[in-house]
Amino acid sequence: MYLGRVIGTVVATRRVSGLESASFKVVQPVDHQQKPSGPVEVAVDRVSASPGTLVMLEGSREAALACDPWFVPVDAAIVGLVDEVDT
């Protein structure tokens, strides 16, 4: 898992089956100091995050497991809204 900041939303009318109800967000991955780390990506949002929110994401195969149905072509999913990072 990793941290990210939601910076926008994606609208896609046509999708593959299984992703009809998914919400897509544009996310900037950040490090523990909340500085940008790596390229911006699109993630399925499972917790209704709004733009500007610090979130935790799951990547790779495990991202799809966070979705319902879970056998879907997804490689990043927002799985929690972060209140605080204490480092």
């Binding site: 523990h32 917790v47 935790m56 799951e58 790779s60 495990e62 972060v82």
Partner: protein, 93 residues
Amino acid sequence: MNLCRVLGTVVATEKLPVFDGRKILVVQPLDEKQQPLGKSFLAIDHSSCAGKGDLVLVMNEGSGVRQVLQDKTAPIRSLIVGVVDAVDVPKTA
């Protein structure tokens, strides 16, 4: 598995139910000299006793994690499976 240093904790109230009751920590991967190597990431603490500053063993393979957690659909890839007491890497010539 990787050696990592625990940098701190993450507090998230709103999250998927599978994360309820699980401790989420920020960890920094280390090399054999315990110097930072690559990007920090989040890991779930399965040892239940890791804290800030600890050297830990992190499993980074989802299938193994799901086996440990006995949950075939847990969306978790990084799991802290041990707190390290010592690492001995003798210098090579």
